[in-house]
């Protein structure tokens, strides 16, 4: 069952330097009880995308549609949105220290969340529920710890408290924005384990925003790869990791140390992400793409079905059968490139090849 269906969402921020096109027409859907991983580098629009769903991007020009259980989130008034936020959709942010108020007890902050949404709950009941929640997320001696201040919690415990708060009203959808980025590896494993367990218990849908492909490999069902405010590729987890179509997805996978088994040198993506104010014409990825063709310079590719399975979609002009990381696919890509690369594109390709790892020539 589709819980959230986002269609053609775009967010622009007018600034003194020009319009920042943070999100440029993104469509996706999330089913109840499933996990969507949104992957992308800093500035790819992944956070703006989800905050817009909750009305947390004041000053932004928003267009498109986001149907949540039948209601369009983007059309809600502030008052209506306040009833959805926290109760139906809750968020877990990256930095648990700055997301908790330092001067209020952890328990109080969870109680507040419960009481704001339902005035009929007494103080006492709310406290009991806060204790239960803290126990559920694995805080030892929850009865005493409910009276602690955030600074008395460790990083992992703070993130557990944030999860407890997010769960407090049994939302249908949880948006986790880089929830484990600030944590150590062993604590990250604890938190991911906890999120998965709680999700299975309550059939909650989860949107996991991360730049870490390892986290996605662990817990996502479907994945959307974002680049410069658009979806570059959407597919099942398996297809993203083993049958990638978009050169950006392929580049991300190849730049992880250990992925190019035994190879001494890493294969980075050359250059750097574009400015969202002055986007390159055509495909936003073309100035970094080793497969750049003529069309890429002038025409923006649409998200189209690739491979054999219908759910795999990619925004790239390479042949739809060019999926995967193997040598056969590489042949296919090279053939397409050799047929469709003339003067202008050849020049771009030369520039990329000449400075594969230097960022120096790129003007910020």
């Amino acid at each position: 069952m589709t819980l959230l269906d986002v269609k053609n969402l775009a967010v622009n921020f007018p600034t003194a330097d020009g319009v920042v096109k943070a999100v440029r027409g993104v469509s996706f859907s999330v089913d109840a009880g499933r996990t969507l991983g949104i992957v992308g580098e800093s500035g790819s629009g992944k956070t703006v995308l989800t905050q817009t769903l909750l009305g947390l991007t004041p000053g932004g020009d928003v267009s498109g549609q986001a149907l949540f259980d039948g209601t369009d989130l983007l059309a809600l008034t502030d008052d209506e949105m306040r009833k959805v936020r926290g109760a139906q959709i809750s968020v877990i942010f990256q930095d648990p220290l700055t997301s908790l108020h330092p001067l209020y007890k952890v328990g109080w902050q969870i109680e507040e969340m419960i009481r704001v949404h339902d005035r009929s709950v007494s103080r006492k009941e709310a406290t009991d529920r806060a204790v239960d929640l803290l126990e559920k997320v694995g805080i030892p001696q929850a009865k005493q710890r409910v009276n602690d201040y955030p600074h008395q919690f460790s990083g992992g415990m703070r993130q557990r408290a944030m999860i407890a708060m997010a769960l407090s009203l049994s939302p249908k959808l949880i948006i986790a924005d880089e929830p484990t980025t600030a944590l150590d590896a062993t604590v990250q494993a604890q938190i991911l384990d906890l999120l998965l367990r709680l999700q299975q218990e309550s059939n909650t849908a989860l949107i996991m925003i991360t730049h870490d492909l390892g986290v996605v490999a662990d817990i996502a069902d479907n994945v959307m790869v974002m680049y410069a405010g658009r979806a570059a590729e959407t597919a099942s987890k398996h297809d993203i990791f083993y049958q990638p179509h978009h050169p950006y997805t392929k580049g991300l996978l190849e730049s992880i140390p250990g992925s190019s088994a035994g190879a001494e040198r890493l294969k980075p993506i050359s250059g750097q992400p574009p400015s969202l104010i002055r986007l390159p014409p055509g495909c936003a990825f073309h100035p970094r793409c080793t497969y750049v063709m003529d069309r890429c310079l002038t025409e923006e590719p649409k998200l189209v079905a690739v491979g054999s399975a219908g759910a795999h979609r990619s925004a790239c002009f390479l042949p739809v059968s060019a999926i995967g990381l193997g040598g056969d696919t590489e042949e296919l890509r090279k053939k397409a490139v050799s047929e469709h690369r003339r003067a202008a594109a050849a020049e771009v390709a030369e520039k990329i090849a000449a400075a594969p790892e230097s960022e120096g020539s790129v003007i910020v």
Binding site: E41, S42, P140, S154, G155, G156, M157, D184, A185, T186, V187, Q188, A189, Q190, D193, H211, D212, L213, G214, V215, V216, A217, D218, K237, H238, F241, Y242, G251, L252, L253, S255, I256, P257, G258, S259, E264, R265, L266, K267, P268, I269, S270, Q272, P273, E357, S358, E359, G360, S361, V364
Partner: protein, 362 residues
């Protein structure tokens, strides 16, 4: 806790056969405690943060030693002690056979040229009000090795070497991206042709595609200049990629150390095993197939570390002995001589720690 037992210094070193006679830096039984003060006007010491507590290691010429561990395990403190940025409580740091422990500022000066650092935060480690040329040129001015036009030329050569456009000499750090700023940090560290560069989480703040660019640059520079790196990171796949030897720290102590493959393929300390199993792998099938060891609890406070083995309250294999006796860092039966583990009950080859019962945190 009682006084730290002096450990056998020789037992705590990485003895790499290739570098036996060619050791650049040697750290023996290094201890760094920070006093914890309390009281108003008259402050008194009420405790010690045992940040680094008896660490020994060696870095060979042209070698990269990876230092892994969680927040607060003493990685960065150890790095600062080696670079001579903070005085050590006890122990010895030897650089090319010279004892450089707690030297005066003046006596330390020649060694500062040899040991440089690259920091984690490319935003916080560059002065936003100074031009890039001045930032990279500072080492030349401070050590009076080049001035004027000569300095500018040297700086521009460095910028070119690390992949920056030399024409950007007069720009401010704010005009560069994160990856470019980290290149500025690398150029600054490289200016005086040091022998050792301590990289303290150099790529943690960078996106994965940019991270690969910087890692490749560091590898190229090592090949060209014969640099040694002490590479601190919490990302295990990055450490695996760059290091030849690995040291795993837990709460101020070395838990395990050895050649990279020894530690990565057959970890003997339960903490290393848990750390390796917890590292996210960008491969869904591998992620589904592995047995992840979920440790309970958090890292304890280094002010009041647990008795005996410091890892015992979180260890799935802990027994009575572990809470009483501190295990020595030693070579375990069946391991190659360079592989050292500080554990009473090291992990066996066919053992699945994920199946050992979970313990409640204390």
């Amino acid at each position: 806790m009682s006084e730290t037992l002096p450990r056998d210094a020789a037992a705590g070193t990485i003895r790499d056969p290739d570098f036996e006679d060619d050791v650049l830096v040697r750290v023996d039984n290094l201890v760094k405690h920070f006093p914890v003060k309390a009281g108003g006007l008259i402050s008194r010491t009420v405790g010690q943060v045992q940040a680094v507590d008896g660490v020994s290691l060696q870095i060979g010429r042209g070698q990269t030693v990876g230092l892994v561990g969680e927040t607060g395990c003493g990685k960065s403190t150890l790095a600062r002690c080696i670079a001579g940025l903070i005085p050590v409580t006890s122990g010895k740091v030897t650089f090319e056979g010279q004892d450089i422990t707690n030297l005066s500022r003046r006596a330390m000066r020649p060694y500062r040229r040899e040991i440089q650092m690259i920091f984690q935060d490319p935003y916080g480690s560059l002065n936003p009000r100074r031009r890039v040329g001045a930032i990279i040129g500072d080492p030349f001015t401070i050590h009076r090795t080049a001035t004027g036009a000569e300095r500018k030329k040297a700086v521009q050569e460095l910028m070119e070497r690390v992949g920056l456009n030399p024409e950007h000499y007069n720009r401010f750090p704010a005009e560069f991206s994160g990856g470019q700023r980290q290149r500025i940090g690398v150029a600054r560290a490289l200016a005086l042709r040091p022998k050792l560069i301590i990289c303290d989480e150099p790529v943690s703040a960078l996106d994965v595609s940019i991270q690969a660019q910087v890692l490749n640059l560091l590898a190229d520079l090592q090949a060209d200049f014969g640099l040694s790196y002490l590479f601190i990171a919490h990302d295990l796949s990055v450490v695996q990629h760059v290091s030849s030897a690995v040291v795993v720290m837990y709460l101020g102590r070395v838990a395990e150390q050895g050649q990279k493959d020894q530690v990565y393929t057959s970890p003997r300390h339960p903490y290393s095993a848990a750390l390796l199993s917890a590292a996210p792998a960008a491969d869904p099938e591998a992620a589904a197939a592995r047995h992840r060891i979920i440790l309970t609890g958090d890292v304890p406070s280094p002010i009041n570390p647990p008795s005996g083995c410091r890892f015992h309250p979180r260890c799935p294999k802990a027994q009575e002995l572990c809470s009483q006796q501190d295990p020595a860092l030693e070579n375990k039966a069946g391991d190659p001589p360079t592989h050292l583990t500080a554990c009473h009950f090291p992990v066996q080859a066919d053992e699945d720690l994920a199946r050992v019962g979970r313990r409640e945190p204390r």
